[in-house]
């Protein structure tokens, strides 16, 4: 309630400060770094905090070697809770956690087990990807859909596994074209892969490839621009990528996006910690059930049946009737 808030403002000594360090993607990566930051800003607003020491802040890392430095840096500026974003920070967190027992660290997208002062936050992106798969399979006219991964590994593997499972469930003989750019930055390669997939008849492509994914958007928009009734669609990742898909005011190539509500999670964990029950040592996973992941509003891009089918699948997953594989080939 509001009263509580005002009360907080007055007593500044017990304000609870939060900060984050990004991985090399940077705070505006249109992905989990950015979402985390949004969650922290939310939290800051609600608790009337200022950006900077004693309030909320972030540090960007431009190289792997900077993670530890940045973590320590924030700890020295004694923030009460620090978010470390991305699996890349695993070792840095593990190391610093041992050296700084008082620090409270929450790591996103990675598990750092058995450390009382580290909370691990994971997202079952595979569940949301499953829904994306269902939607894609349902919507595909050509019976062929595609997946563009960034770099092979467990995280992206989750997206792939869920997507494939969902698609197969919705349409057993759907054809799925899978290729990794082995880069999160090479837009040109992303575009070449997309071109190849569309050329070979795929009409819906889901990417989990960061900026390499830009190439996919470019390719799709090109095709749409050339021929307004071309049947090419993109499924965005992490956040609602609707804006990236804009061809002109009336047309957009984004079917939907797989959401990872890191912002929600970050805010929640921050609040818990503020209340004094920081989930240290625990592994918290967010899935469809707690709306930590989900699909973005298709904005009418998909049919009623599809919406229904997706909703149905969502319920089944929440009820545990469907268990979504976590890695390809499971």
């Amino acid at each position: 309630g509001g009263g509580e808030e005002t009360e907080k403002k007055e007593s500044s000594e017990d304000t609870f400060s939060v900060a984050m360090i990004t991985d090399t993607g940077g705070v505006d990566d249109k992905s989990f770094n950015q979402s985390t930051w949004e969650g922290i800003q939310e939290f800051g607003k609600e608790n009337g905090l200022e950006k900077g020491d004693g309030g909320f802040d972030y540090l960007q890392s431009s190289a792997e070697s900077e993670y530890v430095t940045n973590l320590n840096n924030l700890i020295r500026r004694d923030f009460d809770l620090i978010f470390a974003v991305g699996f890349a920070l695993h070792n840095a967190v593990a190391e610093v956690a041992d050296q700084q027992p008082e620090a409270q660290i929450a790591i996103i997208d990675e598990v750092v087990p058995d450390k009382e002062n580290v909370a691990s936050i994971m997202f079952r992106a595979n569940e949301a990807s499953y829904l994306a798969g269902v939607a894609a399979a349902q919507e595909s006219k050509s019976g062929k859909i595609g997946f563009i991964g960034g770099m092979t590994g467990e995280i992206i593997g989750g997206f792939e596994a869920g997507y494939v499972a969902g698609a197969k469930a919705a349409n057993p003989d759907i054809e799925i074209d899978i290729e990794y750019a082995e880069s999160f930055t090479d837009a040109a390669k992303g575009q070449q892969i997309a071109k190849r997939m569309y050329d070979s008849g795929a009409d819906i492509i889901f990417h989990a490839a960061g900026n390499a994914g830009n190439g996919l958007f470019t390719e799709a928009k090109e095709r749409k621009q050339k021929d307004p009734d071309a049947n090419v669609w993109v499924i965005g990742v992490d956040r609602d990528q609707y804006d990236e898909g804009k061809v002109d005011d009336s047309t957009n190539v984004v079917l939907t996006s797989v959401l990872k509500r890191v912002d929600v999670a970050a805010k929640e964990v921050a609040n818990q910690a503020k209340e004094g029950n920081f989930p240290g040592g625990e592994l918290i996973t967010y899935g469809l059930a707690d709306e930590g992941v989900g699909l973005a509003d298709p904005r009418g891009a998909v049919s009623e049946e599809t919406v229904a089918a997706v909703e149905d699948a969502r319920q089944k997953i929440i009820d545990g009737e469907i268990t979504v594989p976590e890695q390809p080939g499971e």
């Binding site: 960007q60 190289a63 792997e64 530890v68 940045n70 840096n73 467990e154």
Partner: protein
């Protein structure tokens, strides 16, 4: 003015000029340069921790700098230090985690593996240059990209599909609790000593050995070297291989010191390319490289503190470094100025 005095003054003046222009840029962009440089200073010297981190940052630069410098001294442009360093990093990380051996064997073995891997990666361009006159610059550029992909693939294999290899065993680590305690948990590690040894080694090799004499001669004038009965091809390959070994050891610093493992690379590490700058800052002299690395590493590490302490983007530091390099490279004009100045002083007396 004495030659020595000039040789010391030129870099000093360059650094000052670089910082001044950096200050102007900050001021123009609405920042307070004082705050900026205080933050930079603190980022380098504030306390034992930052100093430890600074030294840690310097260590791999010494190696990449030596690698580039050594190649230059022997008439080759090794733009592939990046890739050689990555291969060295991978090799050291693997040896460090795959075996269990007493430290006296394990650590040297891991270092050796890194050097060998880097050397091997550099052998390819060396061989192609010597036997087929293929331009080493393209080959090394291509091998940089290849190294990243190969390393990532092998990391996958080693870690069973994971993102990173396991930490190296204590027996292969360059870390030491003593150092970390002394520097309040910085990642300072013994690698710096290895690096200093490498500096001396390169100096000795080039300035005191028959091999060094041959390598330099071939670098300057292949024809005359051949007339003097040297084996030009062998020397070209050897030069590249030694350069690559330095680079590989640079990787070992990361594998056995800073990170104690290797994670999949999303991009080049940059250490190799920065090595070019470091080498040229140091005029391709081993001890010059040392100084270059200190300057480079200190500024880079100190720069990390600028956003958090002064809210100034770290890029400003890169800008300053770039400017310093320009000024040092253009030292000729500064020299002329100094000599004029010196003359005037003489005449006045």
């Amino acid at each position: 003015m004495s030659k020595r005095a000039v040789n010391i003054l030129v870099p000093l003046i360059s650094i000052i000029l670089g910082l001044v222009i950096g200050a102007i840029v900050m001021a123009v962009s609405g920042f307070n340069p004082i705050d900026g440089y205080v933050a930079l200073w603190n980022g380098i010297f504030m306390d034992s921790y930052t100093m430890g981190e600074t030294i840690r940052q310097i260590t791999p630069y010494i190696f990449s700098g030596l690698a580039v410098a050594f190649a230059f001294r022997t008439g080759l442009f090794n733009i592939g230090v990046e890739g050689q360093l990555i291969m060295g990093w991978l090799a050291a990380a693997w040896v460090g985690q795959a075996f269990e051996l007493p430290k006296i064997i394990h650590l040297p073995l891991a270092l050796l593996a890194a050097a060998a891997a880097g050397a091997l990666w550099a052998f390819i361009p060396g061989f192609l240059k010597a036997k087929l006159q293929v331009h080493e610059v393209i080959v090394t550029i291509m091998l940089n990209y290849t190294a990243i992909h190969v390393a990532n693939a092998l990391i996958g294999v080693i870690s069973g599909g994971g993102e990173r290899t396991d930490k190296v065993h204590e027996s292969a680590s360059l870390r030491a609790h003593y150092l970390e305690a002394m520097t309040d948990y910085s990642r300072l590690h013994w690698g710096i000593l290895v690096a200093l040894l490498a500096v001396v080694f390169m100096w000795f090799l080039l300035e005191r050995t028959t091999l060094g004499y041959e390598l330099k001669a071939v670098g300057f004038n292949k024809n005359a070297s051949e007339y003097a009965g040297m084996n030009v091809k062998k020397n070209i390959i050897l030069a590249m291989v030694i350069s690559g070994a330095f680079a590989g050891l640079g990787g070992a610093m990361e594998a056995l010191g800073t990170f104690e493992n290797i994670s999949k690379l999303h991009a080049a590490t940059g250490i190799g390319f920065d090595g070019i700058a470091v080498a040229l800052l140091g005029a391709n002299q081993p001890f010059g490289v040392l100084l270059g690395a200190i300057l480079f590493g200190a500024l880079k590490n100190g720069g990390l503190n600028m956003p958090s302490e002064a809210g100034i983007p770290t890029e400003i530091v890169s800008i300053v470094i770039a400017l310093i390099i320009f000024f040092i490279a253009s030292g000729y004009i500064i020299r002329v100025a100094l000599e004029r100045f010196g003359k005037k002083r003489k005449e006045e007396k």
